[in-house]
Symmetry: C2
Subunit: 332 residues, 2 copies
């Protein structure tokens, strides 16, 4: 896979928005923008600390279907996916805004259950709801904005260096297995929890930042779609060792049922919300030791960063292939 | 109008969200929440400065109709209404996030025109686009989040004191006249600019804060709906002198055409995005002198704050009435 090819779909749309709407602006004294469009999270230097600022929108019929996901899980997920963006920079959440457009039927028990799931996530990760907006609509839309901070520098996508190891937290593929099972009407075949209740890796992200990770992002669109974003931002390439990918047991079961190689299924993934981390070998080894101990989060080395703008998948027999697999793209 | 009665509609919904989703959370060191749900804008003390954080969602078919508003005006408006929330605290904008759900037909020329209007507003008021989210949907939804800051204390809704004067910037009613004309299919009768291109009163808000305004808010739902919010937050009441209301010429024309008393039409209003300000008489007199000179914004004294939790409209003949008029409520 060439990493310097033109973009398509959602990425192209974002480029277009950036080109047309971005304007260079003087910020208030003490404030400076370090990262704007081009990452999931904006980074703003604000006097002595750094602000992280992200938003994610979930649209009924696109990101979720009401008959599939229960409202409490949706409330959890709407907040969790934003926290995952803060985690991916090694940040600490400050608070959240919730903007929600509701159909008339959703203003009662549905909303209560949604808020119950939201609160469960908010309490687990220590995030205050600070405001937002409520509206009516013919299609439920939830847009959540989270503000976070770091003392010092956040970890961006663009810091990967040739020779760095690539690592991922947790295990991949279970959320996509859940989605595919729902789409196929066979949801009893897999555990839907990973799809409904993603876990933001806040503590792991903070630890990775402290130990010296060079680049980081959360896997929202799947490794196949997200790894190229990190590599493009860093101006680097990578070799991924397929045999080393941590494949979730639910993903293995579903991939076998569908007759797909589990590692390729996990590589495609989608909505894993695990962290993809690059770090020099010594830091990587510390991460492999300390993340499971101190954050209770499994972590696995899956490949290396290379200088050429190319992406290679290495099979167990040593054969290398340039992947054509891609992850989720809402506009494709 | 009693100001201590139970809430209904959107206000009740927001209360419900606050009751169910709000959790007391320890914030990062140096950070403290000063204002959360209950205002349009969250206020966060962040070391040496104060952050202002707001979001506003516009839904196709609810806040706008595609056949009525041109996409460039919608782009302007989506940003301007958020800047108005920052203005209402006397703040300076830092940047914006744009989350947009698009129908397939809207990803081309429609989006380009939307972004052109956005950029026009962004350049006028010095606001950088720092990120966001793009999605597809069957109904266009735009959710904008703006971060602002003040050095020192922002002006909140809750600071009004008995004896304060009440003032409003600009003139009221023109946006509602535009909306009603559109609804009636008689849009050629009024100038739609005030409805399509609201002007955030950033400079006026900053000046009002510096001079010592005690409470402030922007008039998004109309004076009839918003004034009670400010008074409830402050635990006060007010007398409004109808004859003193600054009624926009377009509102006068439309009100006459519809056979409504123009001052009452302007009092109901909606989407004026002018500032409602309270201040002790000496500060109020400074505001009346300096706002037109220094910010180029007209300002008018319209009444006084009183201690009793009651709202009175005073007619030119001295007769007082408790208003039953209300402004916009998306859930009524």
């Amino acid at each position: 896979m060439r990493l310097d090819a033109p973009l398509s779909g959602e990425s192209a749309l974002i480029e277009r928005i950036a080109a047309r709407a971005e304007v260079a602006m003087p910020l208030p004294k003490g404030f400076a923008v370090q990262q704007a469009i081009g990452d999931d999270t904006a980074v703003i230097q604000a006097n002595s600390h750094t602000l992280l600022w992200t938003s994610d929108m979930l649209v009924e019929g696109v990101h979720f279907r009401l008959g599939w996901i229960d409202p409490a899980s949706l409330g959890w997920k709407a907040l969790a996916v934003n926290l995952s963006d803060i985690a991916a920079m090694g940040g600490v959440p400050v608070g959240a805004l919730l903007s929600i457009a509701l159909t008339p039927e959703a203003t009662g028990a549905w909303l209560d259950a949604f808020l119950e799931g939201w609160r469960e996530c908010a309490q687990t990760y220590g995030v205050a709801l600070l405001g937002g907006d409520t509206n009516r609509a013919s299609q439920i839309t939830v847009d959540v904005s989270v503000l976070g901070m770091v003392e010092g520098a956040p970890v961006l996508r663009k810091g990967a260096r040739a020779g760095d190891w690539m690592l991922v937290t947790g295990a991949l593929g279970a959320s996509r297995a859940g989605l595919e099972a729902l789409l196929a009407g066979e949801s009893s075949r897999v555990d839907l929890t990973p799809h409904f209740r993603p876990v933001p890796r806040l503590q792991a992200g903070q630890l990775a930042r402290q130990l010296g990770a060079t680049a980081m992002m959360d896997l929202s669109d799947g490794l196949a779609a997200d790894l190229p974003k990190l590599l493009r931002a860093s101006g680097k390439g990578a070799v991924v060792h397929l045999a080393q990918l941590p494949v979730h047991p639910e993903a293995i079961r579903w991939a076998h049922y569908r007759g797909i190689e589990p590692a390729l299924f996990a590589y495609a993934g989608g909505e894993d919300y695990e962290l993809l981390i690059t770090a020099p070998p010594d830091v990587a080894q510390q991460l492999l030791r300390q993340l499971p101990q101190q954050a209770g989060v499994p972590i696995t080395a899956i490949g290396e960063v290379i200088d050429a703008p190319e992406l290679w998948l290495e099979y167990p027999d040593g054969r290398r292939e340039s992947p054509t697999l891609t992850g989720w793209d809402h506009f494709r």
